[in-house]
Amino acid sequence: MENLIALLVAAPLVGAALLLCGGRRLDRAGHWIGSLFAVASFAVAVVLFADMLGKSAEHRALHQHLFSWIPVGGFRADLAFQLDQLSMTFVLLITGVGSLIHIYSIGYMEHDERRRRFFGYLNLFLAAMLLLVLADNYLLLYVGWEGVGLASYLLIGFWQHKPSAATAAKKAFLVNRVGDMGLSIAIMLMFTTFGTFAFGPVLASTGATGEGRLTAIGLLLLLAACGKSAQVPLQSWLGDAMEGPTPVSALIHAATMVTAGVYLITRSGAIFNAAPDAQTAVVAVGAVTLLFGAIVGCAKDDIKKALAGSTMSQIGYMVLAAGLGPIGYAFAIMHLVTHGFFKAGLFLGAGSVMHGMNDEVDMRRYGGLRTHMPITFVTFGLGYLAIIGFPGLSGFFSKDKIIEAAFARGGTEGWVLGGAALLGAAITAFYMTRVMLMTFFGERRWDPEEVHPHESPKVMTIPMIVLAVGSVFAGGLFSINEAFVTWLEPVTSFAHGHSPVSAGAVTAATMVVLLIGVGIAWRMYGRKEVPAVAPRGSLLTRAARRDLLQDDFNHVVLVRGGEHLTRTLVYLDHSLVDGAVNGTAASMGGLSGRLRQLQTGFVRSYAVQMLGGAAVLVAATLLMRGV
């Protein structure tokens, strides 16, 4: 069975190679080829899943070792896979949602002349993401980590003819580099600390390592997670990343890649468990981001950017849960999976709306679309109910557990975290209701002469329906007998949190804040007419529209500061480094010119030199012996 693991990665990789190297002759079939390889990978995942279910919990983890790339001394760079329950969860999510989005893209990208290339990049992304979650060591994980970064860059900037898309791609890439730097340094530290990269030995030996080292590694891993998962302070790229085609936003910037940070923290759980300071930093980042993203989401009029704020906020929940340790890991992953369903569904719904509205993204120019796009309305609506945590739907189960676990952290910290999570839930209800109302309800604010809203083709609606079904039932299904927690327990370990408030009270409070959030939104956007041009708004609103001034902050502090630093370095480079380098090069060149004079072209002088050389050789040999 373990031999199938490599196939998971190989299938989309072959697809990407075919599509990207195949040239124009594959233009007509490219989208089918791409989807086929995605679905093939999903099929293999299902086979492996079925096999895994048939085994007892302790024997479920599989290993596959392909080869070692130049082992030197204690350094081993292995291409080896590990498929355990945690990886399996991700593999199913990635290949499943990935396949659906491939199919959706067939319709969405129908009129794009670079469609083959788009599917090639999507396949490349799948391969890299699967490598990331299947790697059995940090070094290989890093390969996948960089691979998804590359795919994300290529796809955000897919419409490179738009300067805004090109800039957004560059921004995402640069911000991610900061996080990647953290991961690479963390991996180097691991090697010097543990002498290996493999998950098994690294995570098993945390007990015997100094806490200072572990805290440093933990903080660096957190930095990496912040970059990839758009957490404060490296969150600024996600909003701009919406410049990419909507299926990309759904797959990469909502359902899968941005959750890689959560995977990294959960996978490295043993390190964080042994480094409480690092864990505190993780929960702080999670709590801040979940509020930050939610506030940004409230102010955006661009439907995709509102959803992007929401993604940031929801990943904040996951990071918060992952920072809580064994009482939270399983819920972080559970929320990750349910979020994968409903957020992908919401994005596909947004894409479907844009598809019918001539690529308009401003929600102030929507309104009353529910009658024109019934399927989109229903699926989007189910996703909406799921994300705000409507009782019985997926988000309800997973988010409720996280809020409960946050309270269970204990002490003041528990109250602060729990309060933040509750507040986040209220704001979530507010901004999602706002999106829903502005898009599907109220008066139409578009010109029927210019746009003709229509339902999307089946190839797009069917993936939306499938995801909506997941949004509705996944959470409930996972919660029967704590099925999901039991499934993950062998990998992440699990402990029941002891909350100072009862579970029922938490649920009740969640319901109350939910109703408050929905109510306020209804008052502001349901009862009143939505103005087609955004009002000036309060100071907070204006700040939130500018992403809470994050770009301004980055510009003043990092860009300006960086420019000064660069200027100084350039000066030093020109005067000192270049001087030394050019001097060395010139002297080498001079030496070379002089030495080549020895090559006279006369055989007689060659022979004399050989004779001299032989004499020296003999003399040196004799000298060594001292004869």
Binding site: I70, L591, Y606, A607, M610, M624
Partner: protein, 550 residues
Amino acid sequence: MSSVASVHSLWTVAAGAPDRIPAPRIEYAQLSPTLIVLGAAVVGIVIEAFLPRRSRYYAQLLLSVVSLAAAFAAVIGLAAGGFGSSKAHLAAMGAIAVDGPALFLQGTILLVSLIAVFTFAERRLDPAAHGNRVDSFAAQPAAVPGGTAEQAAVKAGFTTTEVFPILLFAVGGMLIFPAANDLLTLFIALEVFSLPLYILCALARRQRLLSQESAVKYFLLGAFSSAFLLFGVALLYGYAGTVTYAGIAEVVSDGAKQIDPALAGTMGNDALLLIGGALLLMGLLFKVGAVPFHMWTPDVYQGAPTPVTGFMAAATKVAAFGALLRLLYVVLPGMRWDWRPVMWGVAIITMLGGAIIAITQTDIKRLLAYSSIAHAGFILAGVIAASRDGISSVLFYLAAYSFVTLGAFAVVTLVRDAGGEATHLSKWAGLGRRSPLVAAVFAVFLLAFAGIPLTSGFAGKFAVFKAAAESGAGWLVVVGVISSAIAAFFYIRVIVLMFFSEPKTDGPTVAVPSALTSTAIAVGVAATLVLGLAPQYFLDLAGQAGVFIR
């Protein structure tokens, strides 16, 4: 008194020579790779004598390819039969070793030669022969360059098909060279492969004077170095009373047990051992092109027909380093502390000298010649390691390097202008704009020469330096890395020249080769990338082959 006595005893011993000479026992199967190649060479001569001119080319090509492939298959068969490891032993009365390094090197030489045959047989490149398809070799080598006889031969479309049997003779000698297990066999093998090479160097179709000059230089200097080598053999015989490697090694480590009465005055005299050993080393260092015995390399590489240069640069180096390894590891391990410091010095000046002088070269073939000198220095660093890792790293390096070299010289044959191959570097400017594929392939080879990761050059250099560092020669590695940095300059400079310079209006064109040269280049690229991406399998293979039979 004693000398009179020894002369006397010499006569009496000679007079009392045994009355029966035992018939030598020859293990034909184990020597089959060499025998196949030499046999095919003889058949090739017969073909030259009896077949009509127009069918000779095809017959020779077929014969060469089939014989080299068959010999390679024989090597594989022997290796599979365990002769590389458990059944390794001395064949032909102890004259030839059949062991891991020998088989590995013979396999490499045969593969390289097989590909070299493809470049020898290329007949699509040279257009200036009145519509006849001709290769890189002179129409009638014996004719005076520029004379009427030559013109007539060109007009008639003659080609020198003798190059194929000559090549096979050279290959035969190279197969014996690294397997030779006594000094006389070593010397004979040296001459068997050197003489054909001298001839091949003189056979260029274009720039014949340059070609002939290079051949004469090579011959004179080669003969000169052979004399040193032979003198070294004589001194070692005087020291040990035997020419077999095992016999000498025994005397070196344990001292002479039985003093041969005829050599009573010299046996066990360390001065003879040291001087003889140094001269022997010199003869081999000449063949690998180590400084200060490298002078012939640039002139010969430049003057020889380019396919011959490629073959020579690749296969000669493999054979000569093989012989050097065996000499140092089998004959002289007992005096490791004498030869290692000297060889350190040779390695250092070879690495630095090759890299530095290459900087100011303006001819691509001379550039590659100096590059090969620098590489000889890198390989020497592995040779000196005097460990099993050292052997395997050198074996790997040789295999990796020979394919890169062959491929690079094959690309050189493609870039031509009206005067034949355009080897002056200024003519390569902007080649990447006009012929991106050829320039990209050449760039791959240059990167491999420079030792950039993901090419075979990196894996080889890494293995060699690692072995050297582990044997305690850390500063040798430092010098090696510095030389690599210097060398990277001129490799990258060619890449910059090809891709980032404006093409010249009267620049050369890239000839479209037949499948033969294309195959050679493709194999070169494939080997470069495979050995660079997944070197471990081949490193293991070289590691298993890294034990000399004594």
